[in-house]
């Protein structure tokens, strides 16, 4: 999903920078509020960012015979919402743009929009639509899969908008065949991995998940919530 340095015309770079900039600014305000009101969520914020760091560095083979990487953006989206995830994605994408020549500074706005905003937004929508209807572990698996996949769909659309060619629909099909199809097994793998990590978080700190309002009381009734005072 990394659009490479210089591979978007300046007008599109500016367009995505402005859109992403607004969301990232809102995300920064949200983080500030979150950290001052619920300081105990700080470690989970770090875990969500770290998860993106790991997953987006792992380039995996796909059944289409090419390689791509998962995003890790679904976990942050479900825990903290898409705007906060947008801020976390800036850290990851900036690291890759400056040190790895992966993505780029001119295309940072566009890449933040796909991996930090549209993907997480889709995952967050799905999670909230299914919340309370199915177990949160299954829910996060689906949300993470959707967030990963929509990230790549967004990149395909962004590239088509910038380079429509003579037949935009045909062009979109080409980009989708590169990104969206390759991504299917990776998105499934990301969904499963996220479920494993989620179960661990739910087992260890259901109290924080409750406080963030991402799981119901019914899911933790069988677990022992850490005693007050020892929970920080």
């Amino acid at each position: 999903m990394h659009i490479m340095e210089g591979f978007l015309p300046p007008m599109w770079c500016a367009f995505w920078y402005i859109l992403s900039g607004i969301v990232v600014a809102y995300g920064l305000i949200q983080i500030k509020k979150l950290v001052s009101e619920k300081p105990e969520v700080k470690p989970l914020l770090a875990v969500a960012g770290a998860y993106m760091f790991i997953l987006s560095s792992l380039k995996m083979p796909s059944v289409t015979g090419s390689c791509s990487h998962p995003c890790g953006n679904g976990l942050g989206a479900v825990l903290f919402g898409p705007a906060v995830t947008a801020v976390l994605s800036v850290i990851v994408l900036f690291f890759q743009a400056t040190l790895l020549a992966h993505g780029g500074l001119t295309t940072l706005g566009a890449n933040v929009f796909s991996m930090g905003i549209m993907g997480p937004f889709a995952g967050w929508l799905v999670y909230n639509a299914l919340k309370g209807k199915i177990n949160s572990t299954y829910n996060i698996g689906i949300a993470a899969m959707i967030a990963d996949w929509i990230t790549y769909i967004t990149t395909s659309v962004q590239l088509t908008l910038a380079f429509p060619g003579s037949d935009p629909i045909h062009t979109l099909t080409i980009f989708l065949s590169i990104f969206a199809v390759t991504q299917i097994p990776l998105a499934i793998a990301e969904g499963i991995l996220t479920m494993v990590l989620w179960d661990k978080i739910k087992e260890l700190r259901p109290d924080i998940l409750l406080k963030l309002g991402v799981i119901d009381e019914s899911e933790v009734s069988t677990n022992v919530v850490p005693a007050p005072g020892g929970g920080n």
Partner: protein
């Protein structure tokens, strides 16, 4: 870590190994296992042969070794953070019960 989690991780491994088995013996020279990002850039060049990237990366890893070093570093940073907090919470829970 319950049995179901080990099975789940096993499925992830299978998903990653399957392409290696399907395309066994084929490599980059035959056009396999290349990056999707590069494929997209190639497509742009085909769609609009006159398009010239107007900005170059400010720095590029000078070799594949340096690049893999930085990718491994990126994954390691992430893994340290997750491992630290999962371990911390596990110990905390144990000392509380």
């Amino acid at each position: 870590m319950e049995t179901k989690h080990i099975i789940m991780l096993g499925i992830v491994v299978l998903l990653m190994v399957a392409p290696l088995i399907i395309y066994h013996g084929k490599g980059e020279k035959e056009g396999y296992f290349g990056g999707a990002d590069d494929a997209a850039s190639d497509t742009i060049e085909k769609l609009d042969p006159n398009y010239k990237p107007w900005f170059q990366p400010i720095w590029e890893p000078p070799s594949g070794e340096i690049e893999s070093l930085l990718f491994a570093l990126q994954a390691a940073i992430g893994a340290i953070i997750i491992g630290y907090f999962i371990g911390y919470y596990t110990a905390l829970k144990r000392s509380n019960t």
